[in-house]
C-alpha cells in the first residue's frame, strides 16, 4: 500500500495536582519540599483502621474545572478503589473515580473533553542505587508527603491530529487551569503531568487504529518530540506491513528512544469496586453556584475578546491571553493610554520588546516598568517624539530602573532630532562622502547606506530612518 497517507489520532490524559490547603482525604497540609514524611497522618499513611473523608475544597476546584471545560456535572458521582500493590500506595489501592466521574462531555477549544475526575496522588519513591529505577535499586525509600495530594484527571477525546496541536492544546489547558487558580500547573515539578494516547489510521477512515500510551512527559517540548517519535515509529511499522501492539511506552528524552513499560497482556486488573468508606459527591445548587461564581474570564474567551475589541492578530491575542499576567499588564496599558492610544502598537511592544526584556515567565508587574510608562512610551513613538531605536533603549531603562519615559528622553537628550538639525547633519554627511554621492547618481542605490549610517551615528539614533532617507534623496536628486 505505497500510496496510503496516515493520519495521527491523539488524545491526552492530564493529571493536575490541586492547590487545596489540605490533602484529598485527610487534614494534612500539602507539601512543598518539606522534610520527607513530615506531612503525614494515620489516614494518608494508610494505617489500620483509618478512613478517608473527602476534601470539600477539592470538590469545589473539581467543579470549577468541570464547568470551565464545559462539562456536564454528575448529580451524584462516586469513588472507586483501584487495587494494586506498590510501595508508594499505602492502602494497596488508590481512591479514584471510575464509571461515574465528577464531570464529563465537555470541550476546550477544538478538543472535546471525555471526563474529569477526582483522585489521590501516590507517595514519592526514591530508589537508592545506580540506575534510579526500582529493578536494580539497592533499596527504595518512600516519602509520603505527596501521598494523598488531590489530583484531577482530565481525559480528552482523541481529537488532536499532530504533535504540535497536542502541545498547543495543552498550553491552552494549562493557561485555563492557571487562570482558575486551582493548581500551580508546573510540569517540571509534576503538578501538571501528561500522558498521550497515539494511534494512526489511513486518512479518511473513521475506525481508530491500535493505540499506544506515552507516559509522563514533563515538558511541552518532550510531549511534542515524544508524540512525533511515536507517530514516526508507528508509521514505519505500518508501512512495513506490521501491526501496532497495544502497550505503554516510555519516551527517553536524552536518547529519543521509546521503550515498552508493559504490554496489554501485562496490564493490571485493577479490580475496581465502589469505595464503601465514602459517600457519593452530590453537588448542591449552592455548591454549583459557588463554583460558577469563582470562574474568571478564561484564556480562550479572553483571546477572542482581545482579537475582537483591539483587532489583534489571533496568534498575538492568544500569546497575551494564555499568560494572564501579561494580558493583565497589556490591558492596563491600553487603559492608561486612554482614548487616543494605539492598542495594536501596545500589543506589538508588549509581546515583542517588553517580553524579550523579561526573564522567562516573569510577570511584567514584577519588573520596574508600569503600564502608565509603557503607554506613554508607545504614545511618544506614535507622535514621532522618539525614534524606534531610542524607544527600545528607553524601554530597557524602564524595565530595569523604572521612571518616566519623557523624563528619561529629555535628561539624556534623546529627543527625536528635528528637521532643521537633521538638514545640517545630512548636508555635512553628503559633503564628507562625495564618492557615495557619485555612486548613487550613477545608479548604485546601495551606496545610500553609507550616508545613512553616518547620519544615524551622528544623531545617536535620535533620527527617524525614513526622514533621513527622504532628506538625502531630496538633496541628491535636487
Amino acid at each position: 500500500m505505497p500510496d496510503v497517507t496516515y493520519e495521527p489520532v491523539i488524545g491526552l490524559e492530564i493529571h493536575v495536582q490541586l492547590k487545596t490547603r489540605t490533602k484529598m482525604f485527610c487534614g494534612c497540609e500539602l507539601s512543598f519540599g518539606e522534610e520527607p514524611n513530615t506531612r503525614t497522618c494515620p489516614v494518608c499513611l494508610g494505617l489500620p483502621g483509618t478512613l478517608p473523608a473527602t476534601n470539600a475544597e477539592a470538590v469545589h476546584f473539581g467543579l470549577m474545572i468541570g464547568m470551565a471545560l464545559g462539562c456536564e456535572l454528575a448529580p451524584r458521582s462516586i469513588f472507586h478503589r483501584k487495587n494494586y500493590f506498590y510501595p508508594d500506595l499505602p492502602k494497596g489501592y488508590q481512591i479514584s473515580q471510575y464509571d461515574i466521574p465528577l464531570a464529563r462531555e465537555g470541550r476546550l477549544g477544538d478538543v472535546r473533553i471525555h471526563r474529569v475526575h477526582l483522585e489521590e496522588d501516590a507517595a514519592k519513591l526514591i530508589h537508592v542505587g545506580a540506575s534510579g529505577r526500582i529493578h536494580s535499586a539497592e533499596s527504595s525509600i518512600v516519602d509520603f508527603n505527596r501521598g494523598g495530594t488531590p489530583l484531577v484527571e482530565i481525559v480528552s477525546e482523541p481529537d488532536l491530529r499532530s504533535a504540535a496541536d497536542a502541545a498547543e492544546w495543552l498550553r491552552l489547558l494549562r493557561a485555563t487551569l492557571r487562570r482558575l487558580g486551582v493548581s500551580d500547573v508546573n510540569m517540571e515539578e509534576g503538578s501538571l503531568r501528561c500522558d498521550a494516547n497515539v494511534s494512526l489510521r489511513p486518512i479518511g477512515e473513521a475506525a481508530l487504529g491500535t493505540k499506544t500510551e506515552l507516559k509522563n512527559m514533563n515538558s511541552f517540548r518532550f510531549i511534542e518530540r515524544g508524540v512525533e517519535a511515536e507517530i514516526a515509529r508507528q508509521e514505519e511499522i505500518l508501512r512495513g506491513g506490521g501491526r501496532i501492539e497495544q502497550e505503554t511506552l516510555h519516551y527517553d528524552v536524552r536518547s529519543g528512544a521509546l521503550s515498552s513499560l508493559r504490554s496489554k497482556e501485562e496490564a493490571h486488573d485493577y479490580r475496581y469496586f465502589p469505595e464503601p468508606d465514602l459517600v457519593p459527591i452530590a453537588p448542591t445548587d449552592e455548591m454549583i453556584e459557588r463554583a460558577r461564581a469563582a470562574i474568571p474570564e478564561l484564556p480562550a474567551d479572553r483571546a477572542e475578546r482581545l482579537e475582537r475589541d483591539f483587532r489583534l492578530p489571533e496568534a498575538q491575542a492568544k500569546l497575551l491571553a494564555f499568560r494572564t499576567e501579561v494580558a493583565d499588564f497589556y490591558e492596563l496599558t491600553v487603559v492608561a493610554a486612554g482614548d487616543g492610544g494605539d492598542a495594536r502598537a501596545i500589543a506589538n511592544w508588549t509581546c515583542g520588546e517588553l517580553l524579550a526584556r523579561l526573564e522567562d515567565g516573569q510577570d511584567p508587574a514584577d519588573s520596574k516598568i508600569t503600564p502608565d510608562a509603557l503607554a506613554k512610551l508607545v504614545g511618544m513613538i506614535g507622535a514621532k517624539e522618539v525614534s524606534q531605536s531610542v524607544a527600545k533603549d528607553v524601554l530597557g531603562t524602564l524595565v530595569a530602573e523604572g521612571g518616566d519615559p519623557a523624563q528619561i528622553v529629555e535628561s539624556a537628550g534623546l529627543g527625536r532630532a528635528d528637521e532643521s538639525e537633521l538638514v545640517a547633519i545630512v548636508e555635512r554627511a553628503l559633503a564628507d562622502q562625495a564618492d557615495a554621492v557619485e555612486k548613487i547618481r550613477a545608479g548604485n542605490d546601495k551606496a545610500i547606506g553609507a550616508i545613512m549610517g553616518a547620519v544615524m551615528r551622528e544623531t545617536k539614533g535620535r533620527a527617524d530612518g525614513g526622514e533621513v532617507q527622504r532628506l538625502i534623496r531630496e538633496r541628491i536628486s535636487g
Binding site: P48, A53, R271
Partner: protein, 470 residues
C-alpha cells in the same frame, strides 16, 4: 468481694456515682479476675488503674475492648500475626468516646483474625474457650469479648459485627449482644474487614448495660463519612410488657436448620411474647435464603482490598526476602492465617475483570432485595424474631476443617447485616446446659424500641448467667 462481681455494669456505675462503691476497688476486682483468665479471652491487660472522674457517666466501670479496635500505644493486632505487637498512634473513635465517658479499658480481647470466623478458632493467638463448657467454642468473631463478659472477667465489652460477630458469640456465651444500625457508631479506628457491613456494638450481661454502652458509642464522626449518628438519644429500657407489639417470624430462617433444643427455647420465647401482650405472626423474608451466598461475595471482596495494606512495607511483619514481589508474597504468606487467605482469594476472584458482574454485581443486587424484604416486613410487624444461631456452642475443632459448615453458623444473623438494620441477641434459655440466643431485629434506628422489647422479655425469661461466672 464477690458482691462487686455480681453487679451488672450499669448498677456498678450507679453505685460508684453515688459514692457507694470505689471505682478503684471495682477495677482491682476485675483486674484480678482477668489476670487469672483461663479462657484465653484476653490478648493484653492494662497494668495501671486509670483515673476516672467520680461523676463520669460510666462510673469507671472497666471495659474489655476487642483487639480489632486501634488503641493508642497499646497492641492492636486484630488477632493477626501480620501486625503482632503493632501499637497504633491513635485510638478508635468508639473507644475514645467510651473512655471519655468513664469506662476505662481493662484489656484487649481475643477474636478471629481480622474478624473472620464464627468460633474464635481463627485467632493467631489460640482459640478462646466457652466459659459454659471449655471444650466448646465461644462463637466469633468477638469470642474473647463474649467469653470475658460471660465469665465475669470484665463487666462489659465492645465488639464488632460484620455478619453476626457480636450476636452469635453473645448467644453462644449466654449474654446480650447488640449490632446497631449501620452508621450509628463511627468505624474510625476499627481495623476494617468489610467496610459496608462492619459495625461496633456492646456485649453485656443484660439489656440495660447494652443500652448504657450504646448511648455513649453512637454519634456522627467527621473521621467516618459513612457515620450518621443516631436520631434519638439512646434511652435506658424500662418496658415490662409487649402490648400491641407485633413480632414476625420469618419461615425462611426458622425452618429445618434449627437444632431441636434451639427450636424449643425459641418457641418458648414466642409464647412469652404472647403472655406479655405481644402478637406473633409469620412474615416472609423471601430472599434471605441467598444472604449467606451474597455475604460471602461482598465481605471477602471488600476484605481483599482492606487487607491489601498489610504488605510489610510500613508496619507489622515483613518477610526477609529479595525483591518487591517476593517481599509482598512472603510477608502475606507468613503473616495471614488460612481463613484470611481464603477470603482474600475469594474476594479477589469475585472482583476480577470478567467476573465482577456475575459475582460482586449480582451479590449487591441480592443485598438490595434483602434490604427491601426487611422494609416490606417492617410495614407489617414491629420486629423480626429468630434464634441467633441455629445451634448451641459447638465443640472446639468441630467445624474448623469445614468452612461451609462454619459459614452457616451465621445464617440467621447475616441477613440483618446485609440490610444494615439493628438486631440484638439476648439469652433465651438453656439447651442441654448451653445458652440459646434469641435475636430481635427492627427497622433502621429502632434501637430504643428493640432495647425496650428485649428488656421486657429478659425480665420474664429470668436467665441466670451466674454459672459461667463461677
Amino acid at each position: 468481694m464477690s458482691g462487686i462481681l455480681d453487679l451488672a455494669a450499669a448498677q456498678a456505675a450507679e453505685k460508684v456515682r453515688a459514692g457507694e462503691l470505689s471505682a478503684a476497688e471495682l477495677w482491682e476486682a476485675y483486674r484480678e479476675r482477668a489476670a487469672a483468665d483461663e479462657l484465653n479471652a484476653f490478648l493484653w491487660l492494662a497494668e495501671e488503674a486509670p483515673q476516672v472522674p467520680a461523676d463520669a457517666p460510666l462510673g469507671g466501670v472497666p471495659l474489655a475492648v476487642k483487639d480489632l479496635f486501634c488503641t493508642e500505644g497499646v497492641p492492636s493486632a486484630a488477632a493477626s500475626k501480620i501486625i503482632e505487637g503493632y501499637k497504633p498512634p491513635y485510638t478508635a473513635t468508639a473507644v475514645e468516646r467510651l473512655t471519655s465517658a468513664g469506662a476505662p479499658m481493662i484489656g484487649k480481647t481475643n477474636m478471629d483474625e481480622f474478624a473472620m470466623g464464627s468460633s474464635n478458632e481463627n485467632s493467631a493467638f489460640g482459640p478462646v474457650k466457652n466459659p459454659w463448657d471449655q471444650s466448646r467454642v465461644p462463637g466469633g468473631s468477638s469470642g474473647g469479648s463474649a467469653a470475658a463478659v460471660a465469665a465475669g472477667l470484665a463487666p462489659w465489652a465492645i465488639g464488632t459485627d460484620t455478619g453476626g460477630s457480636i450476636r452469635q458469640p453473645a448467644a453462644l456465651c449466654g449474654i446480650v449482644g447488640l449490632k446497631p444500625t449501620y452508621g450509628s457508631i463511627s468505624r474510625y479506628g476499627m481495623i476494617a474487614f468489610a467496610s459496608s457491613l462492619d459495625q461496633a456494638g456492646p456485649l453485656t450481661r443484660d439489656v440495660t448495660d447494652a443500652a448504657l454502652l450504646l448511648r455513649h458509642m453512637v454519634g456522627r464522626d467527621e473521621y467516618d463519612s459513612t457515620s450518621t449518628g443516631h436520631p434519638d438519644e439512646v434511652a435506658l429500657p424500662s418496658a415490662e410488657r409487649l402490648d400491641g407489639l407485633r413480632f414476625g417470624v420469618p419461615p425462611e430462617l426458622t425452618g429445618d436448620g434449627l437444632e431441636p433444643g434451639v427450636r424449643e427455647v425459641f418457641e418458648a420465647t414466642l409464647r412469652r411474647i404472647e403472655e406479655l401482650g405481644g402478637t406473633v405472626e409469620e412474615v416472609g423474608l423471601p430472599h434471605s435464603g441467598h444472604a449467606i451466598s451474597a455475604y460471602y461475595v461482598i465481605a471477602p471482596a471488600e476484605a481483599s482490598a482492606n487487607l491489601a495494606r498489610f504488605d510489610g512495607v510500613r508496619y507489622g511483619h515483613r518477610a526477609q526476602n529479595g525483591d518487591l514481589r517476593s517481599l509482598y508474597e512472603q510477608t502475606r504468606e507468613e503473616g495471614f492465617g488460612p481463613e484470611v487467605k481464603r477470603r482474600i482469594m475469594l474476594g479477589t476472584y469475585a472482583l476480577s475483570s470478567g467476573y465482577y458482574d456475575a459475582y460482586y454485581g449480582r451479590a449487591q443486587r441480592v443485598r438490595t432485595t434483602i434490604a427491601e424484604d426487611f422494609r416490606s416486613a417492617f410495614d407489617l410487624v414491629d420486629f423480626i424474631i429468630t434464634p441467633t444461631s441455629p445451634t448451641v456452642a459447638f465443640g472446639l475443632g468441630e467445624r474448623i476443617d469445614d468452612p461451609l459448615a462454619m459459614y452457616l453458623s451465621d445464617v440467621l444473623t447475616v441477613p440483618m447485616s446485609l440490610a444494615g438494620v439493628p438486631a440484638i441477641s439476648i439469652p433465651g434459655g438453656l439447651s442441654e446446659g448451653l445458652p440459646v440466643g434469641i435475636q430481635i431485629a427492627g427497622p433502621a434506628f429502632s434501637e430504643n424500641r428493640i432495647l425496650d422489647a428485649a428488656h421486657a422479655l429478659e425480665r420474664t425469661i429470668g436467665f441466670d448467667g451466674g454459672r459461667a461466672r463461677a
